[in-house]
Symmetry: D2
Subunit: 313 residues, 4 copies
């Protein structure tokens, strides 16, 4: 594996939602439309097959389908990184090679799922995956789903060995992230560090993040591009102002009541994207429960208040 | 799906270990030998591709390979149930159909992994899997790995709907299991209830379990057959005596120090099986760390004290 | 400290509920009546100031009040052990000395609360408490409240040192309890081991428990006395039958809906005790929410079905 | 209770460490010296009896002692808020009244410990405490110790009712804190919001925190005063630079190996304070384990590198 000429994912790298027809099959037309909308808005990369992309609910054949469409629609304008969410290293590697063949520029993987491993076994897991692929490997730290926290020490060790090229941090642990930023800086910045928390991008930018993977950018990519531009210019007041506007928009995810976290988050994004005309339906993957009409009305209201409906197209 | 003529898994149903060559490939010869040893010892069924079988570390192709060998070696003498351990219903269903084609008599699945679902979404998950297969579906409750506890209410609801035929309980929650037994009895015993906890089989038998899935039976199947015979005869003192002997043997899993739970449990079983001559090597799946020589020596000592080495082969 | 002549708590040792007047003050008359009822039913000891006794909600002055009444009402007929539930060792010791002065025969304490300690600090915690009192110290293992699991190794170490004389196990971890029983037996039975799980007493008796601390015995002490008599005679079928009758009664705790675990458990017990005429009101400690009328009606129904209302007063 | 003229805790409000003599008794001389050092450095308030103050290990008599010395040493120059860390509302109220009598300007309490309550019972808990005291009540959100997360909705509801005047957030959940800031702003800023995370003060300041409760300010109060001055001037680059210097200092807490979190954090602070000559000994409360000599040497080295040894006095 050689990472020397690898794309440096940074700035705004949205986790692309996976539009579905009402029968649950992939809606490639909407997906292409969405990719165009994101790239036109100025995003810096695309994160395919993340949690927002409902990747856990897709078969491997569907995952390859989705990635192929994203790569083809992106057409080299921005790099594409894809999640290879699987139980263990042999299975991740198998899938990652398929995604690599489909044209992605990097792979992102979590610690093992279901198994009960030590930190050194988890390190071996990432090494084993990196050995199996030709594109750079990233680590995805999302303890609420994986039930393992990747320590700064582990991540830096893997960086020094050339095993991983970056981290997507969705740990919700800003104290630990801050320490990772400092250790990464001290080591010469071997890792690109992206935060997955779209409501604190200004603060994470100040703390030293290299970019953000904002699910909400599926709804308002231009807002995140403006936000990150302000971060890049170190205009922290402008960044904060844009962040707060986006956080008002983020209230859409608190509108569904009594549904699961998966239904709530992706459901609100897809509902808002449908209202804005970015995708055809808000259908979620089987067996996630749909939002009801009242919820969609409240989401419509929030979009209207922020002049976000329909999309400028 | 029709479950009317389905085999009733009960008694001793070992989760079959997956023997590996030292290069990590499946050792089918050892697997066949192991199956013969288990059936000759009198076990009542075989549980393929469980946690003890290291299924999480196997690719789907390897899983089908393993199941094919088990089904062929069992040759109809005892029924075979296989774990379809995957993230979500579409993925479980896809794999389950392959395992069904390979000849298993039933499928067992967990709640979704990685995703964040509500109880009603989890119910829909099991319904969706059951719809996709022709053999009976079982629910596998193992919160330490899945991070979801399946409630008695959910399981009984799925039983009433004809979605599931049984439960393998590895929840470590004997209070909840007892309530499930009572509710199942009150409903006319729609579910077969197997405990996964091999060190409390006498007590779970008294409580009303229909059988046990003992990882340790890979090492001493005859002991578990004697134990369950005593339970079946309601000879509780004999059951307790045999259980306590087996619990002395179970001390092998406390010998490894500083290793992960997966390395510790499966590693001790495989080391003991190798010492007893039941399989060729103690190799574990990649990236699980091996036991050291001192540990294996201590395990050898425990086996010797219990006159368990080598196997009566 | 000298434990040589200490009472050996075993058999049925109910965690005594704390009756309250509707204004929240201690109802000593009801408490005395309850103690008489328990002792007349044949219980072997009394566990004062446990979770069922709402001890966490009482001031230290109230705790001493409660213990004084219990000790005086018991009048030496059965021994009394009292919980000293406090944050850390200095605080536990201070309270424990007051409870000892009030006449209890033993003290039971948990691992520290709120703090973040190592296992060796927790061992020192128990040593420090034992040094401060003259009566035997017991360890109370209730991870759902304390958020620490006391390991078998720690408990046996403390037993060997003469620090603790027994364990009340409310860990809900029957596998670990079984291992503790075996290790305790191997060490010459230095510890008395009581289970706190009232719905699996038959199974825990078979597994080797020395007794039970059943909250439900506040409602039906005679049932638990019959159950333990069967255990003591090793008549496991009789034990199971009585256990199952008691488990039908335990369904009272599943009647409250939408309330907290504390409201649900103690609330159901106190409601049933009021219906049976054992105490004057079902009032719970401030700020626990009361059961509603419908719930109390369902509890009344369950008692009636089991011919448990009113008490034989 | 009337909060209209209550002091508005904001800026730097250090959680005051509790100096101990080597026999474990309170070292009032060191405590007075520490208070002077903190106030001279320019802190805006004092947080007595927090986790850094080892309050959980102190008896109530010791707590009152500590608070009396702090209040007397502060002598009205800055306001004092004190933690009343107890299990439940009646016990908190009892202690809080003692602390109020000792002269504190506000009380801070957590959700109940040990008990298993609903959110509405937790709301009642705070209402009950507020009713019992005359000074303002704050909520302390520290789930790693209390095992309950206080939701933004609950805190805003209590603010609207006039029950609480502020929040000390040690939840480690910056996403939730950000939402609390926004909701508080929308409600007219009824709550003062202090973060307990000393390594992200710049970012939390940008996000809208009103101040910080930095344990590390016991070691370098002047640094935190400079940091907050930069935040107040909205000079985010200066804030970040000072934060990063302080974070290099914070590495002292990662020097102890194999000790508990309590030993590690407070131990490192006390060791550094001793090295700087701010207190007489690094003794921690019983039963917390001491740092070894190598660790103290490494801490000395970190202080030296940052020119922080000895204190400018």
């Amino acid at each position: 594996m050689s990472h020397t000429s690898s794309p440096r994912f940074s700035g705004v790298v949205p986790p692309v939602a996976t539009p579905l027809h009402s029968d649950g099959t992939i809606d490639h037309d909407s997906l292409r439309k969405l990719i165009s909308h994101l790239i036109d808005a100025g995003v810096n990369g695309l994160f395919a097959l993340g949690s927002t992309g409902e990747t856990a609910y897709l078969t491997n054949a569907q995952r390859v389908e989705v990635v192929s469409t994203i790569v083809s629609a992106a057409d080299g304008r921005v790099p594409v990184i894809a999640g290879a969410i699987e139980l263990t290293s042999a299975r991740v590697a198998e899938l990652a090679r398929e995604l690599e063949a489909a044209g992605v520029d990097a792979i992102v993987a979590t610690a093992p799922l279901y198994t009960l491993n030590s930190m050194s076994e988890i390190a071996a897991h990432f090494r084993s995956i990196a050995d199996a692929i030709s594109v750079p490997l990233w680590a995805y730290d999302v303890p609420v789903r994986v039930h393992t926290k990747l320590s700064a020490a582990l991540l830096l060790q893997l960086a020094e060995e050339g095993v991983i090229a970056g981290v997507k941090d969705s740990s919700g642990d800003d104290v630990s992230f801050r320490r990772l930023v400092a250790a990464n800086e001290a080591a010469g910045h071997p890792l690109q560090l992206l935060t997955g928390h779209e409501v604190v991008v200004d603060a994470m930018g100040l703390a030293g993040a290299d970019g953000v993977v904002p699910g909400l950018a599926n709804v308002d990519p231009a807002g995140y591009v403006r936000l990150w531009d302000a971060v890049a210019k170190r205009d922290w007041e402008a960044a904060r102002t844009e962040q707060e506007r986006l956080n008002s928009l983020f209230e859409i995810v608190f509108q569904p009541k009594g549904l699961s976290p998966d239904a709530t988050g992706v459901g609100a994004f897809k509902a808002a994207m449908t209202i804005r005309g970015l995708i055809a339906t808000g259908t979620m993957a089987r067996t996630v429960e749909p939002l009801d009409g009242d919820t969609i009305e409240r989401i419509t209201g929030i979009l209207a208040e922020l002049d976000l409906s329909p999309a400028a197209s």
